[in-house]
């Protein structure tokens, strides 16, 4: 279970906003220039630090949304109402503005292009971000590892990376689960991720796939419990949870 060892101190590096892509009404992808970025694995995250003029700082962790392209690094930030950092990054933060970033961090919730095993990605809402980095890393590497993505979202308006995901791509199957509102013209009624959906979307147990689940705590708990009940080895299921739990 050993991960990527990080040697030496993880230094803060100055990153400047190079481009913005609006994903939804409340989420945007920030493309940064970070000269000398060491590269990272799909699924890793970074710490972002904002500093006010009087020296006050606030920092948060964000998943990397794509493989690095030289010194270009992408994060997708969802606005959290009242979120001190996310409201700035999805609001006043403008092209050319600096922040400090350090990373990459995390060596467990990662996919490496050398991995050949089939992959199941299960995303709840903004949990798509590190999983999209895996989809993109697979493409960039020309990997033929079989990928399936189950993407649960409340409404069609909340779909991240819509243009990219709509393009068919060999070896990547996508199942969308809409929990509040269906897209126009699509049959069925909104519902939550359930056993039947995951059973047909997940790889058969004997494929020895690796499953990556990312989303709000309750969603991750549900998805992981379903995979366990379907006989998957707990060691093949990797999780990343965010947001509050019920208690």
């Amino acid at each position: 279970m050993a991960g990527t060892a990080v040697s030496g101190r993880l230094a803060w590096q100055v990153a400047r906003l190079a481009a913005i892509r609006q994903e939804t009404a409340t989420a945007r992808t920030l493309v940064f220039d970070i000269p000398g970025w060491p590269g990272h694995l799909a699924g890793q995250h970074v710490d972002v630090r904002l500093t006010a003029a009087d020296g006050y700082t606030a920092q948060r962790s964000y998943s990397l949304a794509a493989p690095a392209e030289g010194g270009r690094v992408e994060l997708t930030v969802q606005r959290v109402p009242g979120g001190e950092v996310s409201e700035h990054l999805t609001g006043p933060y403008a092209i050319g503005d600096p922040v400090e970033i350090r990373g990459p961090i995390g060596g467990w919730f990662v996919w490496r292009p050398a991995d050949r095993a089939p992959v199941l990605l299960v995303a709840g809402g903004a949990g798509i971000v590190p999983l999209m980095a895996m989809v993109r890393a697979r493409r960039a590497a020309g990997s033929r590892a079989l990928f399936r993505l189950v993407y649960s979202l409340r409404t069609p308006d909340e779909l991240y990376y819509a243009d990219e995901l709509r393009k068919p791509y060999a070896g990547l199957d996508i199942t969308y689960v809409y929990t509040r509102e269906m897209p126009e013209g699509r049959a069925g009624i909104p519902r939550r991720l359930d056993v039947a959906t995951l059973n047909s979307a997940a790889w058969p147990a004997d494929f020895e796939a690796t499953s990556y689940i990312c989303g709000p705590t309750g969603f991750v708990e549900t998805a992981a419990d379903i995979l366990l009940s379907l006989g998957r080895d707990p060691r093949s299921i990797r999780t990343e949870r965010f947001g509050p739990s019920r208690d």
Partner: protein, 199 residues
């Protein structure tokens, strides 16, 4: 001082002396784990302390509940930057469990149901600094928060407070655990912001 981000003023001013640098307060109780939540029934549950000589002492669930316990209220700090004040627990002090076991170990490795591990200096587990906790907020500890029982070491970042703890192995050598192998700090003092190796 770091590089100023234009227009950022900040709101969650760290005026509270109980909040370590770089942390923000949360009322929620976020959950972070590396895999599925292990479902360990109290019937299956067992906890053991193993010394560096291989001496092993173990407790079943009823045996743990029969030990002297205490209620404690502590502040907790996660490396992902949230802190939570005045969390209420009940558990058994680690020194009660170690008791008169013959050990000269300097370190402990916590092993968990599900395979997670984390390393700590043994001194940080003694003198009322650490508990095997089985109640949170007056109720049994839920599985997603580490139930039936977890280690609670509030003065270190919370990844050291291993959930679903199964065994404490006492050792003379400080080997890295799960996150420590993946680049996180060996000790993890929130007040010194020891998040990652080299901090």
């Amino acid at each position: 001082m770091g590089v100023v981000t234009p227009g950022f003023t900040g709101r969650a001013r760290g005026d509270n002396p109980r909040v370590p640098p770089g942390q923000y307060l949360t009322e929620d109780f976020p959950v972070l784990s590396v895999g599925p939540t292990p479902r360990v029934t109290t019937r299956q549950w067992e906890f053991a302390v193993v010394t560096e000589h291989g001496e092993r002492r173990s407790w079943s669930w009823p045996e743990l509940l029969a030990l002297p316990s205490e209620k404690f209220t502590v502040d907790i700090h996660c490396v992902t930057q949230w802190s939570k004040l005045d969390t209420r627990w009940r558990g058994v002090r680690v020194e009660t469990l170690i008791g008169d076991l013959d050990t000269a170990a300097d370190y402990a490795m916590a092993h968990c149901y599900g395979g997670y591990t984390t390393n700590l200096p043994l001194a940080d587990l003694l003198d009322g600094q650490a508990w095997i906790a089985y109640e949170y907020g007056g109720k049994p500890l839920t599985p997603e928060h580490g139930g039936p029982a977890r280690l609670v070491v509030p003065h270190l970042y919370f990844w050291k407070s291993a959930k679903w703890v199964r065994e404490l192995r006492l050792t003379g050598k400080d080997d890295p655990g799960f996150w420590e192998t993946a680049g996180y700090h060996d000790y993890g003092d929130p007040w010194r912001e020891q998040r990652y190796q080299g901090d």
